[in-house]
Symmetry: C2
Subunit: 208 residues, 2 copies
């Protein structure tokens, strides 16, 4: 479809998607890059340039049809098909993420929870029974797993990631505070809470 879209552009797409979703809820049918730029506090030029990476979705003299554009961005972001997610590490954060995926996004489905702690075996979180990490192999071989969320301590992140990728998992959503070394073709999306907090703390310090 497209080739070599810059990461900067891709990071902005979910934000467009969100604003368009809100417009849709508000019953807005059409929007110009100018109106949208005012709402989103970005330049109209950037919006047009970003969208044109993927195709010409607008119409001169009219603007963009909100529903159409929303659907198109949805397609781009892979919101048209179901993504099956498993999660490894059912601690506090793991449970929160499990619930988050369960309720927040329709195109993602949590299908398995795994932990290393035997005392958690069989307990239910968000309606799913917790399994042991050594059951991962069986599970992945018998289920379609698109994404594995890693909410584990940084010490175990590397071995678990290796195991998962060896079993064919192609996308990791990594919450462990470590950079994972994965084979070619595997995607890692990091959520480094610690980095985020430190950035905040830097900005606070700078302000003073």
């Amino acid at each position: 479809m497209e080739k070599g879209i810059s990461p900067a552009v891709i990071r902005r797409m979910p934000r467009y998607y969100r604003y368009l979703g809100e417009l849709l809820e508000d019953g807005v049918e059409r929007i110009s890059s100018n109106d949208l730029s005012r709402r989103m506090h970005v330049t109209a030029s950037q919006i047009r340039q970003d969208l044109n990476n993927f195709g010409g979705f607008g119409q001169q003299g009219y603007g963009y049809n909100v529903q159409f554009l929303y659907d198109e961005i949805g397609k781009i972001l892979g919101q048209t098909h179901m993504n099956h997610v498993i999660l490894v590490g059912v601690g506090n954060l793991g449970q929160a993420i499990a619930n988050y995926v369960r309720f927040e996004k329709l195109s993602f489905k949590m299908i398995g929870l795994f932990d290393i702690d035997p005392s958690k075996k069989g307990k239910e979180v968000s309606g799913i029974k917790i399994q042991m990490v050594d059951e991962l192999e069986d599970f992945i071989k018998t289920h379609q797993v698109d994404i594995a969320a890693l909410t584990i301590p940084k010490e175990s992140a590397e071995p678990i990631a290796r195991k998962l990728t060896e079993l064919g998992v192609k996308a990791l959503w990594n919450f462990a505070h470590v950079d994972l070394d994965v084979p070619e073709g595997v995607i890692v999306e990091n959520v480094h809470l610690s980095d985020s907090l430190m950035t905040l703390s830097y900005n606070i310090t700078k302000m003073k």
Copy 2:
């Protein structure tokens, strides 16, 4: 101290800090930008350029002293003083974040938890009693609050943010999936899990 450091640089500083911390644990005393670049998979040039935004921490022919550089970056990131954090919205994610802040980072201290649900009143999470949102005003007036974490639904994010900033809170760690409109001088650090997941899903789709 410094002026106009680019956001791109700042985003990288916590990563340097982490790697230096690991080197320190491993008992490494000195490191060259070249060695570090190999470990971190970035260019040596970028490392030198980034660090030089804040001062000349290295020595020709020697490299960087790990302990010294670690401490300096710590200072830059505001890790030398305690940051007092409160959290609003003690749901699944809120509890996870409360625990996270409690155990993960020494320079941040969770000092208050707030929720709107009366049934949660007085319950303890991570050793802290949950208070009601209408007690926020009293609390902020009588305690030093550096950061407020917002783990609430997007509908309540805007009014709560307004209330907090009116009460003088200068930094928000926002987990709600909405862009907050805050007064000049208030810092917002967003953690948009949904955006992160969608970026992942985009990359999966693209790969196929």
